[in-house]
Assembly symmetry: C2
Homo-oligomer: 112 residues x 2
DNA sequence: ACAACATATGAATAGTTGTTCATGTGTTTA
DNA sequence: TAAACACATGAACAACTATTCATATGTTGT
């Protein structure tokens, strides 16, 4: 095995060592997959400035209550939104500023 | 229509006005959808520190050349990677620092 | 306790997507 | 120029996902 092949092999090895482990990579992909649907993005944008109940989100986006609820479930499971009960309604809001940051960064890339 | 209903209506309207238009939202979702697959994320991570040709990516990730090429096509179409020819090989690299920023932000959220 | 309201959820379906296999295109070398 | 190499691409299939419809759960006011 000559020098250049050995260097090649060690480069390959180095890259593999820098790679985050499978589980983290899968979680990361799942996080982005949640952002990868325009209706979920719309829902997050409705919550950008103020919290809202499910019916209001459905009204703003002209969607069925069921569809919104299903998507909120996904957002909830990935800790992108949080919620609290207020009487009969359940009020949703963005979980933290990470969500806003990620949306903003994505927007920067898209608007170039 | 009483006062509270009017306020409700105007809130709904305000939110709709802040919402980015359909096309932008769709592009944004598409961008994140590209990040939403673990093999594409792996490919981007192999390119995090240094540029690589298709075969090397395939070798590092233990994937077929075809599968890698198909995914590079998606990354290319969304301007997440760029490429240049070098002899028989085509060398891929991350397109800009946006890619690194987005991956890093996502990682922050996941590692909490 | 009961009716009305707000939300969640399960099942089914239609549409989307990642991989594989086979083959095509483009480049180098003998 | 023919063979070998590196990569791209089209078709097909299996796996996944978002929405709809029907219904269940939980809360309020009477």
């Amino acid at each position: 095995m000559d020098q250049s092949v050995m260097e090649h092999e060690s480069t390959i090895k180095e890259i593999s060592e820098c790679m985050p482990n499978e589980e983290i990579l899968y979680d990361l992909a799942e996080l982005f997959r949640v952002f990868g649907d325009s209706t979920r993005i719309k829902i997050m944008y409705t919550l950008f400035e103020s919290e809202l109940c499910v019916n209001d989100i459905a009204e703003v986006l002209d969607m069925t209550q069921s569809a919104v609820s299903h998507q909120l479930r996904v957002l909830k499971a990935n800790k992108l939104v949080k919620f609290r009960r207020d009487g009969k309604s359940i009020i949703y809001s963005l979980d933290d500023d990470h969500v806003r940051s990620i949306l903003a960064l994505g927007m920067e890339h898209v608007e170039e």
